[in-house]
Structures are given as C-alpha cells and as structure tokens.
C-alpha cells in the first residue's frame, strides 16, 4: 500500500518537474505560490494537525524567516542559499523560547497567543528601522538572469522546499516522536501519564514546524525581492494556511498539500474571473469546509465520496 502511494507521489513529482518546460510564466507563478502555501501548511501541520495545537500565528516564523534572509543578504552580503539554515534556525530558536510559556495554553487561548506573537514581532520589525528598514521595507538584491530562468529557479526552489517539508512531516509521523504528538493531540493527560514529556515534545513539534515555515519565508523574500512588515506578517495567510489544513485533513502527511493545491487553484480562478468578490468567495469556501469537511477530505472520504458523509458532518458539526 505504501509502495503504491509512494509510486503515485513520485509520478506526481515527475509531472511537477516537467511542467515548467510546458506552461506559461503566469501558471509558473501560480504554481510557485501554491508550493509555497503547500509547504507552509505541511510544516505548520506538525504542530496544528499532528499535535492538535492551533498555531494560528505560525506565519510569524514566515515573516522572521523572510527578514533573516533579507537582512543577511543586504547587510551582510550573504548568498541566498547560505541564508536558508539561518531561516530554519531562527524558527527553531524562537519556537523553543516561546514554546516554554505559550505551549502551556490550550485551544483558543493558544491560538490567540500565537496571533499576539505575530503582531508583536511585526511591530518589533516595524520599529527596528536600522536593521529592517521599518515601514519602508527592505529591498533584496535582485537575482540576475533571464525572467524565464528566474521564474523556473523559484519554481524549483519552492518545489524542493515542499518536498523537504513533506519528507520531514512523513518522517515525524513514522518515528517515536510522531506517536507522542498524536497521543498529545487526543489527550494530553493520558499522554503524560504514559511517560510522554509533553512540554518537550510539543516544543520540539513547534520548532520543527517553525523551521520549515521560516525557510518558506526566506525563499519568499528573495522571490519578491522586496519585503515590508505588512507583506510577510499577513493575517490572511494564517487563515488560508488553516483552511488548507482543514480541507486536506490535519492527520495525514499529504492532506495539507492537497488542501493547498485545491484552495490556491480555486482562489486563483476566482481571483482572475471575479476579482471584486474574490474575498467573499474565499470566505464562503472556508465556511463550507468547516461545516462539511471539518476532518478534511482524506478522513471524510476514506471509503469513497458520498453526500451522506457531508451531511452527517454538518449534523455533527464538530471538529
């Protein structure tokens, strides 16, 4: 069964590798953005889906990663790739430090606290004018080369980031740590009396998640070549990331990626055809997901598609 799934994944990956050579620059950009969100959702799913901690403000690590790349490239003349480990490290350190007090909170309280963290870091970045450029933003060195090459470069950079995120998520789900996280998600008291050091494992899960999201931010900064606090600490990204995880299913490795692909592609179509009501359509879609697919596509349609299951989810209306 695993081999069949793995074969399908390899085939899917092969198609994604070939795509840039046959599609237009527009779709290349759309897919690059889709990979970005898929990687963010996959990384965030380690704390949100596996561990059951709704880190609504996980985009904070995305912003920090973006600024780490931005500052290291502009102020310290580092190469783009050389900044990547620092993006991951910034996420790990920040999550480890914040995890000690914040991961004592649960549910809505934790979610709100993470949003508070995002807002605090955004304000800090906004006020550290000398280092970050403050509200004026930071202009990164522009990549040299033909536009087509640059498009493909970031397409593959995001794809590699996504594959890396999937690989980490897969490994976490299969090793001893994964069992602990899944136990914590269901019942933290039961997990702790079984010998699981819950504060340590929750912090580890958040750190791994933050490292992936931080790397996504670093790539995004170089791709955009200009960042300011309002383009990288974005609340709507958090909403999208959450909707993607919910849509695909937070208990699976590829669920968040599937959610990201569906939501980003729908969002792009809606954006291009109905620009005036784009936000409204996206909002309705999120409400639909929460009402009808709270456990995600994978969990809901394990045995095949049926309207009955959609309706029963609506009746139960619980996550």
């Amino acid at each position: 069964m695993l081999n069949r799934k793995f074969f399908f994944f390899l085939a899917f990956l092969f198609i994604l590798v070939l795509l840039p050579f046959v599609i237009s620059g527009y779709w290349l950009r759309v897919l690059t953005q889709t990979f970005l969100f898929a990687a963010i959702a996959t990384g965030s799913n380690i704390i949100i889906g596996y561990t059951g901690y709704p880190a609504f403000g996980n985009i904070a690590f995305f912003g920090v990663g973006a600024y780490v790349t931005g500052v290291l490239m502009t102020k310290y003349q580092m190469g783009f790739l050389a900044t990547m480990p620092f993006c991951a490290l910034s996420g790990i350190i920040l999550a480890a430090l914040l995890g000690i007090p914040i991961l004592r909170l649960k549910g809505h309280y934790f979610a709100i606290a993470t949003v508070g963290i995002m807002e605090t870091i955004r304000e800090l970045v906004d006020n550290m004018t000398e280092l970050t450029g403050g509200g004026l933003g930071l202009t990164l060195p522009i990549m040299q080369g033909e536009p087509e090459f640059i498009y493909k470069y970031f397409y593959f950079a995001m794809l590699i980031c996504l594959v890396f995120a999937l690989l980490v998520s897969f490994i976490v789900s299969k090793i001893k740590l994964g069992y602990a996280l899944k136990a914590i998600r269901v019942d933290e008291d039961a997990a702790s009396v079984m010998g699981i050091n819950t504060p340590l494992y929750k912090t580890a899960a958040w750190a791994v998640s933050a490292a992936i999201v931080g790397v996504c931010g670093g790539i995004y900064a170089y791709w955009l070549s200009y960042i300011d606090p309002h383009t990288v600490f974005v609340g709507t990204y958090s909403v999208k990331m959450f909707a993607m995880i919910l849509l695909g299913g937070g208990t699976t490795v590829i669920g968040p990626m599937l959610g990201a692909f569906i939501l980003e592609l729908i969002s792009e179509v809606v954006w291009s055809k109905f620009i005036a009501i784009h936000g409204m359509v996206l909002g309705l879609l999120i409400i639909f997901i929460i009402l009808f697919l709270p456990k995600g596509l994978f969990e809901t349609f394990k045995g095949g598609f049926s309207f009955k299951k959609l309706l029963s989810n609506l009746r139960e209306n619980k996550l």
Binding site: K176, Y179, K182, R185, A190, A191, S192, V193, M194, G195
Partner: protein
Amino acid sequence: MVLLEAKNVAKSYGGLKVLTDVTFSVNQGEIVGIIGPNGAGKTTFMNLVSRLTSITGGVINYKGQPINNKKPHEIAKLGIARTFQVVKPFGGLSVLENVMVGAFYGKRNLNSKSEAKDVAEDALKVVGLEDVKDKDPRILPLAKRKKLEVARALAMGPDLLLLDEVMAGLGAKELADIMSEIIKLKEKGITIIAIEHVMKAIMGISDRIVVLHLGKLICEGTPSEVVKNPAVIEAYLGSKYAKKE
C-alpha cells in the same frame, strides 16, 4: 516490601477538602482495592499518585522515595502506570499503535519500532485483543476499550498498576474475563491498586481493601473484615439503614 506508601496525604481545592490525612501502604505483589461512595476521593488519590494533580499535604513514597514533586511522565518512567475511568484511546492510532505508545514512553522507554511492536502485541495477547489490533479503537465496544487501557498500561512495563474502574459498565461474562486477567497480572508480579464500584469483583480479586468516605480513610483490611465494619456499612447505606442491619 512496601512499594507505595501514602502518609497523611491531603488534597484540597480552595476550602474544599477532597482528601484528609489518608495513610496506608501497598506491598509489592498485592492487589489493593480502594472503594467508597461517589465523591470519596478515590480518583483524586490516583491522580495524586500519577501527579495529574498536585498534593496539598503529606507525602507519597514509591520504592522508598518521595514522588510528590515528580512530573507525570517521570512517574511513568519509575514504573507506575494507570488507566482512566473514562477510557481515553488515542484516536487516529490503531489499537496496536495505541499500545506501542506505552512501550515507547513508559518504563521500558523503547526506541526501536519493532521492539515496541513486539511488546505491544504481547500486551494485547494478555488482554485478548490481538484480533482487533489493526482496528480504530474508537469503534470498539466499551469492554474492549477498557481492555485496551489495560494493555496500554501493561506495555509500559509497570511495577505498579493503577486501575480506575476498569470493571464499571461490563456484563457478567466480560467482568469474569477482566477479573481473571487482573489476577494473572498479579501472578506476573505486578502490584495493583484498583478503584472499583463493582463490589463482587473488587472483593473477589483484592488482597486488601481501603475504604474512603468523604476524603477520609475509614477502614482498611481484608475483604471479609471490611464488609463487616460498621463504619463502612454506614458510609454505604447511611446511619438509618446501618442500624437496621
């Protein structure tokens, strides 16, 4: 040899005293039953031993060492495993994987997946759940979910097993099954503290009984001694009916 010793244990929530001055000990290899009407403080005592709640007064020693300040996961690593009154299977993990969690993180602290699987399979055999090992535990009937709780605790490799109402809600046949399984565990050298409301069962399996009432220890002794104790009869039946008895 004394394995667990409670000395003047007290627990209160603000002004509400849930346990007052509870003192008793559990010897290695014993089955000790804790009984008492609802609200007697039985589950609170178990929560204090597993450190899900903090102790207000007194001390609990395990193998001669105080465990008051240990964290729940440290208690588990010392060899104390417990089940819950309200069964808590880890949904999203199969029955086997649920039990593997115990093998991974309990006293055994295994790192190898294959070793954890072997231990989990053995534990499932002990409680007779090997045929449902690949199932989602949430779909199992109550009796099997209770057995799963026991299997999960067993996989941890405990020296002391705390059973919180594992027999409640079971039918006669299931009750007989689980009673014989608990006796088998004792034969394997595991010390057991069991909270139970099913009197026939707890009297049948326990070496000694501790009776709590309104947070106080009112009687301790063998099952035959305890059933004759006037304080116990009064606690269960009330003074009016106890006098008639």
